[in-house]
């Protein structure tokens, strides 16, 4: 098989998209039931309505803010716990089971507890995002820092880098960066899910709130119009991190 160039891939994707949209439109026209399957044109009309009324921008802003705060807190907590677990075997065996359990538990199952403990305001929503995102970050920090680049630490020391903190950020963290970013990318994907869960199950708000609100009014075209930016948001965040990853990776 001949190797595919970038433009080949782009062409294939465009053909796929065109076929998909055409099939959708035809099916929708035949069914003629806007409630079950709105036509592409109706979805775009709804999307335009959401944009021009400012509703979408407002919701997006709220969601992105929630993501930023949630991911930042996850990164800080994940980094501290990960570094602790990487440094101490005792901490590793003490904490690891709980984090594995948290990783395996669907975030949505924890929402009732968060509601009881932290209420349904912004802090509660942030907690849900953190619960979804913190574990992959912690795991990646732990595994990244556990493979200690002893030789390079010696190199740095021999050329005058002094102190644990300087060695940590000049050598250990930098050497672990590809692993850390892979963890952050995974965490970002989970954070988007956590965000949508928090916005639909705690208190309506952001993109998740839009979807839930229009869903309960059976305005399916608006539901689709809100899902579209949500998945775009997820894709964008993950691909930005992927891009940084490629830039910082050395092979």
């Amino acid at each position: 098989m001949k190797k595919r160039t970038k433009s080949d891939i782009r062409r294939d994707q465009l053909i796929g998209l065109a076929v998909f949209l055409a099939a959708w439109e035809i099916t929708a026209q035949i069914m003629g039931n806007k409630l079950v399957l709105p036509a592409i044109s109706q979805i775009f009309a709804a999307l335009w309505d959401l944009i021009s009324s400012g509703e979408l921008i407002l919701a997006l802003g709220e969601s992105i803010w929630l993501l930023i705060v949630g991911l930042t807190i996850s990164t800080i907590i994940g980094f501290i716990l990960g570094a602790l677990v990487a440094r101490s075997r005792t901490a590793y065996w003490m904490l690891n089971p709980y984090f594995s359990a948290l990783f395996a538990t669907p975030t949505i199952a924890l929402v009732p507890l968060v509601l009881v403990w932290f209420g349904f305001g912004f802090p509660g929503r942030v907690i849900v995002v953190v619960l979804a995102a913190v574990v992959p970050i912690m795991f990646s920090v732990a595994s990244g820092l556990r493979d200690d680049p002893k030789d390079l630490v010696d190199v740095a020391r021999s050329f005058g880098v002094k102190g644990e903190l300087a060695l940590l950020y000049r050598v250990r963290v930098r050497a672990a960066l590809p692993v850390l970013l892979a963890g952050l990318r995974l965490a970002a994907g989970r954070a988007v899910v956590g965000m949508a869960v928090a916005e639909t199950y705690l208190r309506l708000g952001g993109i998740g709130g839009l979807i839930k609100a229009y869903g309960s009014m059976f305005q399916t075209d608006y539901v689709f119009a809100a899902i579209l930016p949500l998945s775009l948001l997820g894709i964008t965040i993950v691909s930005i991190i992927g891009r940084i990853e490629r830039k910082l990776h050395w092979t």
């Binding site: 010696d154 050329f159 005058g160 050598v171 930098r174 050395w250 092979t251």
Partner: protein
């Protein structure tokens, strides 16, 4: 020749002793790696250290570099006892020790940036030494894009550009293929003949030990000790003639091999019994 007896030695080792624990547990057995190592190295001297594997030669170099602490004894650099790595000593590593995320120029400027040199001054100094080792076409390459020999040239350029007058080299050509190694030996000697830095060079290659050295330090193992120091009387520049064909080369090499061989045979007998 100058009277070297009156001059302060570049490096002096006094009663260096080092033990290692065999495991991390608190009451683990210890093994004596170095015992009472005393040594004095003249300024501008090229000293090679050779010995059977496990004789502690790398440990000794790490102690000289202050990367490891001796249990007893002192490392004295130019009359001053040292306990921390310093700018007078620069190390060249067996596994090259290049940061894989840094380009050639970034690796070479690293020690200067740590010492807060202005960026353009660091760059100029680094470029001069990169040119010296013939890598000016690869300044922006990453280590993984270079061959082993080229990577070690970067390691050498990095050590030289620090301006240190003592080079500590830990089997620097050990991981490089035989032909490239010969070329590297020639380049190193050429640079040394120009600058007369003090060099301590660990090797397990007998030819290399004799070829480069003013004096060869032969170590014995279990525990690591100075067994003998053998002066090498071969004229410089050594690559202008066939050094290996020189009668002194054969004499010194034969002498050291005889000693090394005894150690190796003894070691094997111990292992068998």
């Amino acid at each position: 020749m100058k009277d070297t007896m009156l001059e302060t030695p570049a490096i002096e080792l006094k009663g260096i002793r080092k033990t290692f624990k065999l495991s991390d547990s608190r009451d683990a057995d210890t093994v004596l790696a170095l015992d009472d190592v005393n040594l004095s190295i003249r300024k501008g001297e090229f000293l090679t250290i050779i010995g059977p594997s496990g004789c502690g030669k790398t440990t000794l170099l790490r102690i000289i570099a202050s990367l490891e602490e001796a249990d007893e004894g002192e490392v004295i650099v130019d009359g001053e006892p040292v306990t921390e790595p310093g700018t007078r000593r620069a190390m060249v590593f067996q596994t090259f020790g290049l940061f894989p995320w840094k380009t050639v120029i970034e690796n070479v400027t690293f020690p200067l940036m740590i010492r807060n040199f202005p960026a353009d001054e660091a760059r100029n100094t680094a470029m001069r030494h990169i040119k010296r080792v013939g890598l000016e076409k690869f300044v922006d390459a990453y280590p993984h894009q270079l061959s082993g020999g080229m990577q070690q040239r970067v390691g050498l350029a990095r050590a030289l550009s620090t301006g240190a007058d003592i080079l500590l080299m830990d089997e620097p050509f050990g991981a490089i293929d035989a032909q490239t190694r010969e070329l590297m030996q020639e380049e190193l000697l050429r640079i040394w003949e120009e600058e007369r830095k003090t060099v301590i060079f660990i090797t397990h290659d007998l030819d290399e030990a004799v070829l480069l050295a003013d004096r060869v330090l032969l170590m014995s193992r279990g525990p690591g000790k100075v067994r003998e120091i053998i002066p090498v009387d071969l004229p410089h520049p050594r690559f202008d003639y066939d050094v290996r064909a020189h009668e002194n080369f054969a004499k010194v090499r034969g002498h050291i091999w005889h000693q090394l061989r005894n150690d190796l045979v003894q070691q094997r007998e111990e292992e068998v019994s």
